[in-house]
């Protein structure tokens, strides 16, 4: 597609989305809000998995760190929920650096297993109320509604503009990051870490930095989630959430921002359209992944120049 057409398409999509709440009921807007949150999370994961090629199937752990940081600060110390955004990001990012440091050297398949483990450890720690501040299996409730310039954000339409505003800002920032020195370094890592290191690039640094950045984004998305729900509990951050996010990135086309958005709509939106088949969700996702692996391993909307990553790379990494 020509760049000009790209921008026209993006503009139309944004305009359509911006007026959507005028035509949709509260439930439908709420689905769009969910899609927005997943898009936000998946855009962060896309940096780690899509741009840098590091297998992370524990992204929900960083989401949880952010959500709980926000919830604890808000309910215990009465800090306005949106003010906790930077701190939630920092906590999630710092946690990611701490857990990633010893394991980023691992080959793809091992890294995948370790991140699954980290995700589960965090969830179980939350359930067991390790520091006595997470509320155990019940979680934390009574989180305040966010307030923007004195206006309390409460209705789904309000959250819609807050969440999708964050998505728009994220896309704006990440598009720039992608074509900058930092963004290229991530691609060098994914393509060939030995050649990157042999070109003078500190590959360990970039592996850690991207884990930290992606996790910080998940942490901030966690704040929005806590604000939207006003109650959070460990079950919102299960292994399944990490799998869904992983799938969004791979299905859309690793490293592709429009691909990630499209996949967020499909993976989160479609099950809502077919609620009567909710029990078959796993089965359908499994089938879709299998079919994609065979007919379109580069993803639905692959990034430019990408033909061999995503599902194909995953197959290589976890294969025999």
């Amino acid at each position: 597609m020509k760049p000009r057409l790209d921008w026209i398409g993006a503009g139309l999509f944004a305009a359509l989305l911006a007026v959507a709440p005028l035509f949709l009921n509260a439930y439908q807007v709420d689905v769009l809000n969910s899609i927005g949150l997943y898009a936000l999370l998946a855009l962060g994961l896309n940096l780690i998995l899509g741009e840098a090629g590091l297998f992370n199937m524990g992204h929900a752990a960083f989401y949880a760190m952010g959500a709980y940081t926000a919830a604890i600060l808000n309910t215990r110390y009465q800090i306005p929920i949106l003010w906790t955004l930077p701190l939630s990001g920092l906590v999630a990012g710092a946690f990611a650096l701490a857990v990633a440091r010893p394991v980023v050297h691992l080959r793809g398949d091992y890294l995948l297993i370790v991140t699954i483990g980290v995700g589960e450890i965090v969830r179980i720690a939350l359930v067991n109320d390790v520091f006595g501040i997470t509320g155990g299996a019940n979680g934390i409730f009574g989180i305040n509604r966010p307030r923007v310039f004195g206006y309390i954000i409460r209705r789904p339409e309000d959250f819609f503009y807050l969440i999708w505003g964050c998505v728009a800002l994220t896309i704006f920032l990440f598009l720039r990051l992608k074509r900058s020195r930092f963004g290229r370094a991530l691609n060098y890592l994914r393509e060939d870490a030995t050649a990157a290191e042999g070109s003078g690039i500190n590959t360990d640094y970039y592996k850690l930095a991207v884990f930290g950045l992606g996790a910080a984004w998940a942490g901030m998305a966690g704040t929005l989630f806590a604000a939207k729900m006003t109650i959070i509990s460990p079950e919102s951050f299960s292994f399944w959430e990490s799998v869904v996010l992983f799938m969004i990135v791979i299905l859309g086309g690793a490293g592709s921002i429009p691909g990630v958005l499209l996949a967020a709509f499909l993976v989160v939106g479609l099950p809502e359209l077919f609620r009567e088949f909710a029990g078959a969700r796993m089965l359908v996702f499994g089938l879709v992944m299998m079919v994609m692996m065979v007919v379109r391993p580069q993803g639905l909307w692959p990034a430019r120049g990408h033909q061999g990553f995503s599902l194909a790379a995953l197959a290589r990494a976890v294969g025999p």
């Binding site: 990051l177 900058s180 020195r181 060939d192 050649a195 003078g200």
Partner: protein
């Protein structure tokens, strides 16, 4: 000169010095007590039969492997224990025997990898696309394009690397290495897979690189290239150095003829 003459003492003028370097993989000693020096401005060839340990020597120089014994010095600094990117930053650049490009990225992006460590700008500068970052990126692109033009890929900056011909891929690897602005360039079988014209052009390119004041250490099987481009050869066999000297000395060394060349008329 033969191995019996002993190790060459690290000389003040040498850019790169290996002293008694040994590397074993399990029971296999891939490099065994190898010493040699590369003088500033020279073109030195590292030759020997397959499996002699040549690529391992390169991997030791660039820190991909750590020697079990011995030291490697570059401009007086000890390289042992340094990570690869640190060694590159000191002024050594390399290419790989099995071409290692960023296959899905463009020719320009590949060359920009070499510019990376001399650039500034992290996450924030990138996200906000600050004016400073814009300037840095522009200067880097100019440098990268210069190197691409130098190796003859100036017209293909936006081609995806994997779509290049084999010879062009080798040239792109050289451009990426040159973009790091090295003092020493090490090339692992740069003519591998090239046809006669491409090899001829490569010899010219090596001359031009040398004319820029860059020292070259290369591994090569193509004896015509080695004899024409190099002023000094180091010969390895079974991990040990068996000869060192000018191409004329080496080609008439009985140990080399016996051990490596076998049939002298191939030379």
């Amino acid at each position: 000169m033969s191995a019996a003459d002993g190790a060459i003492a690290p000389t003040e003028s040498a850019l790169l010095t290996l002293r008694e370097v040994t590397k074993s993989f399990g029971g296999l000693t891939a490099v065994n007590g190898v010493s040699f020096a590369v003088g500033e401005g020279a073109v030195v060839g590292l030759i020997g039969p397959n499996g002699a340990g040549k690529t391992t020597v390169f991997n030791l120089i660039t820190g991909n492997y750590q020697p079990n014994h011995g030291d490697i010095h570059f401009t007086g600094q000890r390289l042992n224990g340094l990570r690869t990117h640190r060694i590159i930053m000191l002024g050594i650049a390399r290419t790989f025997q099995n071409i290692r490009l960023f296959q899905q990225l463009t020719v320009l992006e590949n060359a920009l990898a070499g510019c990376h460590y001399r650039m500034s700008g992290g996450i924030l500068a990138g996200m906000l696309w600050l004016p400073t970052q814009r300037r840095v990126e522009k200067a880097a692109v100019e440098r990268a394009v210069q190197e691409l033009e130098f190796v003859g890929l100036g017209q293909q900056t936006l081609t995806v690397a994997k779509n290049l011909s084999y010879g062009d891929q080798r040239r792109l690897e050289i451009a990426r290495a040159l973009a790091t602005q090295p003092r020493l360039l090490i090339l692992d079988e740069p003519a591998g897979g090239m046809n006669e014209q491409e090899t001829e052009a490569l010899i010219g390119l090596i001359e031009q690189i040398r004319a820029r004041g860059i020292t070259i250490l290369l591994i090569e099987h193509d004896m015509r290239l080695v004899m024409r481009a190099c002023e000094k050869l180091v010969v390895l066999e079974h991990g040990g150095k068996i000869a060192e000297g000018s191409p004329e000395q080496v080609r008439s060394d009985p140990r080399v003829i016996e051990a490596y060349l076998g049939t002298e008329d191939e030379v």
